[in-house]
Symmetry: D2
Subunit: 337 residues, 4 copies
């Protein structure tokens, strides 16, 4: 049993904890939080030991009726692997703490690539992370792009990726984020940081990304153009994507025409939190002109990195190879629509 | 076993079907749909027999790989009770079909009160519906208001209700509904139709409602003022509301400060589809000045009427009294946060 | 000629400057800004002398090709009156600077009432501000409420005001403000701070306000209930409101059914920036039941306080009485639709 | 004097009428409307003769206190040119009426290209429309794309255009349009209809467009990639675009970072209705990699086609050449920021 600690129990952390708890070879050593809000109460109900992420705030938990098992240092000491799910930038601050306890650490995509030895996507470069002390699971957008690039690269070769990322402004519960009624090039400069981030996974890839932010909360949507190494047909690409375990090719004619309905679909299917761990590629959108492939995909920012974190735990503990890990994660979570 | 047919399998219908399936004394006789979209596929996976709501469209289901059990008439003939969850106005058109098969029918709040013998809210007037042939479960907003008025009326007497209903523009998957960036008095005339609708449950109630529509999809929020029959304290009202099984009094200090976080809370708690069947009353908002009570509540339009429909099935079949039915519904669904 | 300085040239400041420039008895002594953004360029094109609000940043203006006339202290020294339009809280910090130059100062509603000797609404309490050294023009919402309360109080007496304020989340250009898809009671506690703020204008008024924030940028909308001192008819109230120079009673049947169309109407009418200086009361919504009046109004947060600032300048300089000032302001700006 | 009739006086029609009225060589023969809403009242105030677009509804205007000059047929008979600004599809229905009076007609981009002999963009193909009986001014998006393609094609040659169009869901006053909280590939199929529409102007252009719809009302934003015929530098492209009279290259560092602030800028500048007739290209975004150009631009859907309509009037009446017309239109409207 790999004992996994989760530091930072928000949008990503709570999902990672639940996913870890669902693995036969892992258990949740505990979760660390800064404050006893509603998510802390759910954590307790799920049976996760609670640790205070900020020692001085520990008494707040008691006041709120939540018993804590200790402070974050103790969790780090106790765990075999720590998954840091704190807000962007805090992970880097925590790194030395993890190192001081010799606990391998997995960071999230909000951190700079320099936070860890390896940037990670299970489909693309699992082996690079085997036995590493520090690994960074790339961001939701980069994960979404990597899952497409990997098979396209293997099958056809990729000459150039051009991606426009139409990003949600904030997650559903982040009510202080905007915009309310605007379309923002973000960043205005081209390429956006997303391209270089994909290159942490595919160092030789030629990729240009343009980012925007819009007033929506459910999913990011990517408009993608990939110039492939050889001539292809849309049908062939579709088949390839359908064969990827973490890509869902949306069938035509069933009304799944945007993020709202995709989320409804996931909720109807009984997915926990309505999570969509898979890239959702519109089958109807897959178009080819010569070696140029075009498609739309939606990416659920709150959950697509979750299975990647689970795989990263196996990679750093070198307890399974890529195929085994991905298959086990998929099966336990119920990935595949 | 009460065999319940569900005609119209959209936002409300699919939830009603699942809630019926969870009852020990009921089973889903089948569901009728107009088209084989993604919701139809989920219905099949859940094991519900599928009927074509529009006979001419029956072949579309076969084309989409969905086997149908027949057309809606057959479902109506077969079922002990039919729950009509079709869009506003269609229910009234369906009434004679239900009558022709002598199948008791439950309609939704989108229909005029005249569609049925009784307008229904389990907490307020269950008995009126016992043995009725036709019952209308009142709308999400009226349900939300009735659940508050009933205990206040019983405990203190209600002199006057003044409610401002800040309504979501559409459900999360209804992407063709607006507004995008507007605040609309809707209707502009005062009182809105909601007041009279509450009076279908409380005929003698003095109530004025003002309705608005805003660019949000998650929940309605009500700003309420109730002039009570006697002097009260906020603490006493709070206790009263906390004792109501379908009212959740949101505790202070845990960050549940809007609809987004309430929905996250419900998803974290493992609720199917993140449903919030209960009125969510902000404890911190309960304020009293003399006999005037003020409070805010949020109402989940997609689900608050669902337990009411289950109770209505027991009422029309006269198979349980109010207390029994409400308790059984609550227990099987997991109502209570 | 009253020489008016404007410190803080954002949403409110730029409008106040233009309104001052339109007065025959005033001129713009200059405007102070913190940074040379696009609004600074417009200021220059309008011929306003530019002052650096933060002396250390003065060189930035030169770099951007904007000549400055000095730093804010010089503007304060030079002006007969200063209108502080800086963000909430900064006004209070600036107060001692204004005092040190003996320059009478007008603050905005983002400041606490304690920032000034008098809280001000031209229609309601102009005389209180005559000759004052410091005056605070109350917020957009309080201004909107005061303009209704004043005539109702005079004509019928007001027993109780209950107002639900459905507030826009941010101004159109404030893209970092949310919520994106939420309805937030804000504050959750009742009464909101708006009621006490109205009482800075009407100390004896009994008023309860409930505030919410929604994902819209154009206008606030108020749902109002006023218990009057005597029985009235809707027609009589309507006539009264139609006689108020800063209230626009929206006629029925011309399609002005929300904030979006009201703004379009103002833009079509050639209003600068599409400003709606008047309260916009839906005529159709005016309803009376006994002594209880109900109505909806929309308030343009970016501009309704602008004429009030102009009047406040005349009040502190004691250069006109209320009637004269209001009439002159209205005429020069073109108030009245 | 060219007498111009405007049939359909909504978002586009009212702007076209005002722009025509500003031309020294044109006058507004009258405008035709279907109903006497607030826009009709503004038309009257602007001195435009009002015609009933639907004869049976003529009496409604009288009832609303608006005197009409006749019905639309009379306007068509009287005018030298008619500009049809009715909703998509209605223009095609009106075509035979215009033909029956031998009145040259200009249609809008909501119509199929087949509605007219020529699809029109002043910068790109003015001469094609000289003396034509029917001309279609292409849509807001196509106009925005054409204004970029024309100079790029002339200067460098264009090998391929790839454009992602992030489109606003509805105009500010269209409150019944959505989505509220969604990102919709629209259409899902690739290429979208926009590419072929650009080819009505540039028949030989190789272009792929991907369209999306988001919950915003102010402007469309285009993420553009153009593979040019020769190597260029970003500086050279920027200079080229800055030389285009209907392109505004947004300077860095002045805070114009999205549609909200661009609109504020236009309003501050005193533009009627805050209109932005120019393509707004972010200077900072112009990036070049080999022969690949990338940039973001915002397009104001309500107004960018307005100067094109004015030029189209001169083209069909053959009363000026392209350069003369564009210059006159620009000067009278105040184009150029
Ligand atoms: N939300 C997304 O869409 C998303 C997607 C992919 C990756 N990420 C990345 O995941 C990471 C976490 O993001 P999130 O969205 O879950 O954020 P979040 O704000 O939802 O959760 C962060 C949690 O960390 C807690 N926290 C704050 N400071 C802490 C500290 N010093 N120690 C421990 N806990 C602390 C917060 O209280 C909160 O519970 C970030 O790097 C982010 O960039 C986020
Ligand atoms: N969605 C809400 O917020 C909400 C809340 C409370 C009550 N209601 C009421 O519930 C009823 C259903 O609303 P909904 O939101 O579930 O609508 P919906 O549009 O989500 O679902 C309606 C379903 O009925 C189907 N349908 C259409 N015509 C039909 C026909 N002739 N026969 C059978 N099925 C047909 C549609 O295909 C769809 O699946 C309405 O009366 C509505 O007013 C809705
Ligand atoms: N925007 C509204 O809806 C609205 C309505 C009524 C009242 N108010 C009040 O008006 C005041 C101004 O609000 P606003 O919306 O115009 O804000 P804003 O942010 O649009 O403008 C404030 C301006 O002040 C400048 N500034 C910041 N610090 C400064 C300093 N130290 N010295 C001088 N200038 C400084 C900013 O750069 C900006 O130009 C606040 O008190 C606000 O509460 C705002
Ligand atoms: N709004 C935009 O963003 C935009 C941009 C570019 C092009 N267009 C195109 O311009 C055209 C007009 O669009 P709009 O946005 O101005 O629409 P709109 O709905 O704002 O205005 C259309 C006007 O035509 C009137 N009308 C309806 N039926 C009529 C009839 N039979 N005869 C005469 N008038 C009638 C309507 O009452 C309305 O006043 C469409 O082809 C549209 O695709 C619109």
């Amino acid at each position: 049993m790999i004992r996994v600690g989760v530091n930072g129990y928000g949008t990503i952390g709570k999902r990672v904890a639940d996913a870890v708890a669902a693995q036969p070879d892992m258990e949740v050593a505990g979760v660390a939080k800064t404050q006893p809000n509603f998510e802390a109460h759910t954590a307790v109900e799920r049976g996760y030991s609670m640790y205070a992420a900020i020692p001085e705030r520990a008494p707040l938990f008691g006041d709120a009726g939540i018993e804590i098992a200790g402070v974050v240092d103790e969790l780090v000491a106790d765990a075999d692997v720590i998954v840091d799910c704190t807000p962007s930038g805090i992970g880097a601050e925590n790194r030395s703490m993890y190192a001081s306890y010799d606990t391998p650490a997995i960071f999230q995509g909000g951190e700079d690539a320099s936070v860890a030895q390896v940037s990670f996507n299970a489909r693309a470069n699992y082996d690079d992370a085997r036995g590493a002390d520090t690994v960074r699971v790339v961001s939701c957008n980069t994960t979404g792009l990597s899952r497409l690039v990997a098979p396209l690269e293997e099958e056809y070769g990729v000459e150039k990726v051009r991606a426009t990322l139409v990003r949600r402004g904030g997650d559903p519960s982040q009510h202080s984020r905007g915009p309310i009624n605007d379309i923002l090039p973000d960043p205005i400069g081209i390429p956006s940081h997303h391209g270089p981030d994909v290159q942490t996974i595919f160092p030789d890839l030629s990729i240009e990304t343009m980012g925007l932010k819009v007033p929506a909360t459910l999913m990011h949507v990517h408009a993608l153009n990939v110039t492939l190494g050889s001539d292809v047909t849309a049908a062939h690409v579709r088949q390839l994507l359908e064969s990827q375990s973490r890509v869902y090719v949306i069938p035509e004619g069933i009304g799944l025409d945007g993020a709202g309905r995709l989320k409804d679909f996931a909720l109807d299917a009984g997915r926990p939190r309505g999570d969509l761990w898979e890239n959702c590629v519109w089958g109807e959108s897959i178009a080819v002109e010569g070696r140029d492939l075009y498609l739309f995909q939606a990416v659920h920012q709150e959950s697509d990195v979750v299975p990647e974190n689970v795989d990263a735990v196996r990679a750093v503990t070198d307890s399974a190879d890529a195929e085994e890990s991905i298959e086990r994660t998929n099966e336990t979570l119920g990935i595949g629509l």
